[in-house]
């Protein structure tokens, strides 16, 4: 036995996400200005969102509805009594010098969402990530660095050396949900999947477009590392400025490495906010974190409390669609689809519902799944379309698959006419008849064609009979050519096999 080498310490990461999501309402959370993205600066402003004296904010009913529905979809408890609070800080993007938010009585608490990762064997691995709270608040405006109008984010502005800043308050007062997870996440991959699942849920509900590039979905990550087995948490660092799920994954991987290196070399980890830099692929220190008590929250005196009635809650609950996790379970357990196929089909609610409609109209599950994920998805990607924008209805897809199933057309013909159906719609059956594409599966008719084909290629026939039996494929090809692909492939092979042998 050799002397044991010192075991390398194993570390684990403790990760929680704080996500801000812009709600897809027409108007702002407390006033009737537009929420349109990309409008001319300072056109969607009004005395309420600008915090002028004497104004009275009034809560947008849709914001409450969307917040409660999101809470329900995240398996939260909806607060029987909820209120708004003022969070005070000075920053030029905040016209009132306070943000109306929710502090101690958020609208929803104590829920979870389920992420599904696929392991190397293709099996679904499910994990629940706790949701601490969901609350409603208003967004702030946007600072634009002088000389770079239209571009830079707040963080870039802070780092540059201009003498003044310009402010656009179009975004001030746009409704946000802040969704805070429990520190249940243990890897960068889990964090990215949590973000994707949250985005999926918000889109299924139709409460947000979840667009990360336009900033409608913004994720901040809290992360610490500790040796496996240690009870207490390590020092927590916050990372911001990631605008894609892959950036979240890379930033976390980088940060885990950085923190482990610091621990190993005995350097202190400071509690701070760090920014992910896409160009250099690293996190950089932004500022040391101030205590949260400095925000001096107090109850917003201009807004009454929210008491969601049981009847209202039941109405909103009944309006929820089947959510992604429930769909995944059903596709895998009831429809017998693989975890991979299920993930692809359920990613977008409209695609899932299209697939389900085709199946409900008689299409086989496996066939419908293959066509939706294969040719139809490829067409959508190619043309940059949504599934709702194609002329091919689920009914026509079911009809097309039925034509293959009953032998009227071959799969090859089906693929050939698909582009026309995708673009123009109409009946698959009529198209097949109009184009004379019906499969030739009548034995005597096909026999005649096979005979002609063999007679036309005496040289190949001789070679075949001298043992080069691979040439059967050549004859199949010739039959297909003569019939424009209409010959029943199975029958063609049978007939050729018999006749070639003589």
């Amino acid at each position: 036995m050799t002397a044991a080498a010192p075991t390398k310490t194993q570390y684990e990461a403790i990760i929680g996400l704080e996500t801000h999501c812009q709600l897809s309402t027409h108007t702002k959370i407390f006033s009737s200005s537009s929420t349109e993205f990309g409008a001319t600066p300072n056109t969607n402003i009004d005395p309420v969102c600008m915090g002028l004296p004497g104004v009275l904010p009034v809560l947008n009913q849709k914001v409450l509805e969307y917040a409660v529905k999101t809470g329900l979809a995240l398996n939260c408890q909806i607060a029987p009594y909820s209120k708004f609070d003022r969070k005070q800080y000075f920053y030029p993007d905040l016209p009132k010098n306070y943000q109306i938010s929710q502090y101690d009585l958020p609208i929803a608490t104590n829920g979870y969402l389920e992420i599904e990762l696929v392991d190397k064997g293709g099996n679904a691995v499910r994990k629940r990530i706790g949701i601490t709270r969901v609350h409603m608040e208003e967004d702030a405006g946007k600072l634009v660095h002088a000389g770079s109008i239209g571009g830079a984010s707040r963080n870039e502005n802070r780092l540059s050396g201009s003498t003044y800043s310009l402010v656009d308050y179009n975004r001030a007062g746009i409704p946000l949900l802040e969704i805070v997870s429990e520190p249940d996440i243990r890897s960068a991959q889990e964090a990215a999947e949590y973000g994707r699942e949250l985005q999926r849920i918000l889109r299924y509900l139709g409460v947000s477009d979840g667009n990360m590039e336009e900033g409608s979905l913004r994720c901040d990550v809290n992360i610490s590392v500790r040796p496996v087995g240690q009870e207490e948490f390590g020092v927590k660092v916050e990372i911001k400025n990631m605008n894609s799920f892959s950036a979240i994954q890379k930033a976390i991987d980088y940060e885990i490495e950085r923190q482990i290196e610091a621990l190993e070399s005995g350097e202190p980890i400071v509690q701070e906010t760090r920014l992910w830099e896409e160009n250099t692929q690293q996190t950089i220190s932004m500022r040391t974190k101030e205590g949260s008590s400095d925000y001096r929250y107090f109850p917003e005196p201009d807004l009454g409390p929210i008491e969601v009635s049981t009847a209202q809650l039941e109405t909103w609950k009944a309006e929820l669609p089947e959510l992604p996790a429930a769909k995944r379970h059903r596709y895998e357990e009831e429809l017998g689809l693989s975890a991979d196929d299920t993930r692809v089909l359920t990613d977008d609610r409209a695609v899932a519902e299209y697939f389900e409609a085709a199946v409900a109209l008689g299409a086989s599950t496996k066939q419908a799944a293959n066509w939706v994920m294969g040719d139809i998805t490829a067409y959508l990607k190619d043309r940059k379309l949504n599934i709702g924008e194609i002329a091919l209805t689920p009914a026509t897809l079911a009809e097309l698959l039925e034509l293959i199933e009953d032998g009227t057309i071959s799969g090859k013909i089906a693929k050939e006419i698909l582009p026309e159906l995708l673009a123009d719609g109409g009946s698959a059956k009529e198209l097949v008849e109009r184009k004379g594409l019906t499969q030739i599966s009548d034995t005597s008719a096909l026999e005649a064609i096979v005979d002609e084909t063999i007679a036309a290629h005496p040289k190949e026939l001789e070679e075949y009979r001298n043992g080069k039996t691979k040439l059967q494929g050549f004859f199949v090809g010739q039959v297909m050519k003569r019939t424009n692909g209409r010959a029943d492939p199975k029958l063609t092979n049978q007939l050729l096999g018999r006749k070639l042998k003589g």
Partner: protein, 94 residues
């Protein structure tokens, strides 16, 4: 209740106020006496009284999500000390 000068400085910093040494001294005294005045409330037994955050008893005041753009955007822009084009202009941050 003593509200010392360090507390005055902290509050002044949070409120972005610059105070002279004399003012710090003066406010320390004034704020202490204001807090003392409020302190009288703690003579009451409020153990079984729920906290009051507002005196008007209304809840669930909401409006429908209907667009009503504000028509005098220019007036809001002009009410700020400085503008540049469509923007409000503010001193450099940090």
């Amino acid at each position: 209740m003593e509200f010392d000068r360090n507390s005055v400085r902290k509050v002044a910093h949070l409120a972005r106020l610059e105070l002279t040494a004399d003012e710090e001294q003066q406010f320390s005294g004034q704020l202490s006496s204001i807090l003392d005045y409020f302190e009288q409330l703690s003579e009451l037994d409020t153990a079984d009284v729920p906290p009051t955050t507002r005196v008007i008893d209304v809840s669930n005041v909401t409006r429908s999500d209907e667009l009503q753009p504000y028509t005098d955007r220019e007036a809001i822009l002009q009410s700020a000390p400085e503008q540049e084009g469509d923007y409000f202009k503010v001193p450099k941050i940090l």
